[in-house]
């Protein structure tokens, strides 16, 4: 007999996170998923193998690849910008800072004219958040990331939103899943991962989080665990990015 229950009980924190990232794409349909980083990438590929078979995924460079790694299309950077403007895309970006209304910073820490720490720059964050659904992945949930106010607004939050297509969906971290489904679009605690207390998350967040109805993040199914462990990440890189 397949030890389904044993596997479920021993899901690692990284696997919980990957499944929470897969759930970001529920209902997405035939759009380009653009996950940045290992755990969101595992999540997007897991979603395509389970709930969202029509997702498009690139190799991170210029090829669209099927789950079997067959090239099914061409997606150089110039065409990525066309997809951004067209809107059929859901990006999962990282964040050096995130605030209560979902403003994100990947540009610089401190005064932009003379930063204490120069980061990447705006990259595509302004265009992504102005044009299509955007989520964030934070591998180390702490008060230096979850700040009262970001130093530079790279990704646009709800209190700065302009235009018809702004849609910041969720934030997945190593501790919890959060969204903005409150009357003023401030951040809300949706679920804590198994083994995490609500108070842990509140302590690691600089601003107040609504936390009236907090669930436990769901466990992977046995199919999902099997896919993560044997197909998508047999070397276990996920568990090094997010230790249990």
């Amino acid at each position: 007999m397949k030890p389904v229950d044993v596997a479920v009980e021993t899901a690692t924190r990284a696997e919980i996170c990957a499944v929470a990232c897969a759930d970001l794409f529920l209902g997405a349909g035939e759009i380009l998923a653009s996950p940045m980083g290992l755990i969101p990438s595992l999540g997007a590929r897991l979603a395509r193998l389970t709930s969202e078979p029509d997702l498009l995924l690139s190799d991170g460079e210029a090829f669209l690849l099927t789950p079997e790694s067959t090239v099914e299309g061409w997606m150089p950077y110039r065409r990525v910008f066309d997809v951004v403007a067209h809107g059929r895309r859901h990006v999962v970006m990282g964040a050096n800072q995130l605030d209560r209304f979902g403003n994100q910073n990947i540009s610089a820490i401190g005064d932009h004219a003379k930063p204490t720490r120069q980061l990447l720059g705006f990259r595509g964050a302004p265009g992504n958040t102005a044009n299509h659904r955007t989520s964030y992945w934070v591998p180390r949930h702490n008060p230096r990331v979850f700040v009262d106010a970001v130093d530079v607004v790279s990704g646009v939050g709800y209190d700065h939103a302009v235009g018809p297509f702004h849609d910041v969906h969720r934030v997945v971290t190593n501790l919890a899943v959060l969204d903005f489904d409150t009357p003023d679009h401030s951040m809300r605690l949706v679920s804590v991962h198994p083994g995490v207390d609500v108070d842990d998350v509140l302590r690691q967040t600089s601003f107040p989080l609504e936390h009236d109805e907090v669930d436990e993040t769901r466990q992977p199914t046995d199919v999902e665990l099997d896919l993560l462990r044997t197909v998508l990440d047999p070397a276990g890189a996920r568990n090094r990015e997010v230790p249990s």
Binding site: Y77, A85, S107, G121, F122, V153, G163, F165, H166
Partner: protein, 279 residues
């Protein structure tokens, strides 16, 4: 047809202090590094550099060539941050115009089309606009939607590196991504393409489909043969990124004590000396 072959030093001799220079490629991918190294050897200064930035930006910053930077990001791809770019930014210079990546493309396209601006949604609500008050918005005359009026990024010169070219300026990329090298050339007054190999025109369609001919003669003023001329960035399929050398660059760039040694070893001679030293 005109023979446009030049050396890297001849290209740089046509540039003038204070020019706005667009540099093709993307991050640490297919950058015209031999032309950048030629700028490092020259007395050229006070440049406004327009680039999807990688080590081209880092090296020009290290040499004090940059008065202003226009970029969407600066990254070495496999190493997140270019240490020289960080160092000069954290020291408070040079001036910057930091854009969303799509706005950057939009600005090149506006220049290519000889338009003063093009509308784009990217940038709305973000600090791109707060930090660059010269950027304005425009209202649609049809439905009133407010959009960013991305100004044309006009270039005095464009430097790009492709896989193959003929002596007249028809040039070809053989990797999976053209990046934005055609737009850089269309946005510029003087256009210089370096390439891995100059071939006969008739050989261009032998090595790739006609769609891989990214640049035509109208878009190019000078053609430079620079084998390994994108090193240490990638130039697939001719070669991938030289990751060990990029790490060596980043380690030296991040350590003021080590940088002079790196300059002595790799950047103080000719291009031939460089290629010999990195072999």
């Amino acid at each position: 047809m005109r023979d446009k072959r030049m050396t890297p030093d001849e290209v740089v001799a046509e540039l003038v202090d204070g020019m706005t220079v667009g540099i093709g490629g993307w991050g640490s991918r297919r950058k015209p590094m031999a032309l950048v190294r030629a700028i490092l050897r020259s007395p050229l200064r006070d440049l406004t550099v327009v680039s999807y930035g990688g080590p081209d930006v880092g090296l020009l910053c290290a040499a004090g060539k940059v008065r202003k930077l226009v970029y969407g990001f600066v990254s070495l791809d496999t190493i997140a941050y270019d240490p020289w770019f960080r160092r000069v930014r954290e020291a408070g210079g040079p001036k910057v115009l930091e854009l969303d990546e799509g706005m950057f493309q939009c600005g090149l396209r506006a220049a290519a089309h000889r338009l003063p601006f093009l509308p784009i949604r990217a940038g709305l609500g973000s600090d791109v606009l707060r930090l660059a008050p010269e950027l304005r918005t425009v209202r649609s005359p049809y439905d009133g939607e407010e959009l960013v009026a991305m100004p044309a990024l006009r270039l005095d010169a464009a430097l790009v590196h492709l896989n193959r070219a003929d002596r007249h300026g028809n040039a070809q990329y053989l990797g999976p991504d053209p990046y934005f090298d055609d737009l850089f050339c269309l946005a510029a007054t003087r256009r210089y393409v370096s390439c891995e190999r100059i071939v006969e025109t008739s050989d261009l369609t032998g090595s790739g489909p006609v769609q891989s001919l990214l640049l035509n003669r109208m878009m190019v003023d000078g053609v430079v043969e620079t084998p390994n001329g994108a090193h240490f960035t990638s130039c697939v399929p001719d070669y991938g990124r030289d990751e060990p050398f990029q790490r060596l660059y980043a380690e030296a760039a991040g350590d003021p004590e080590r940088w002079p040694g790196f300059v002595d070893r790799f950047l103080s001679g000719t291009e031939a000396d460089y290629l010999e030293a990195v072999r």
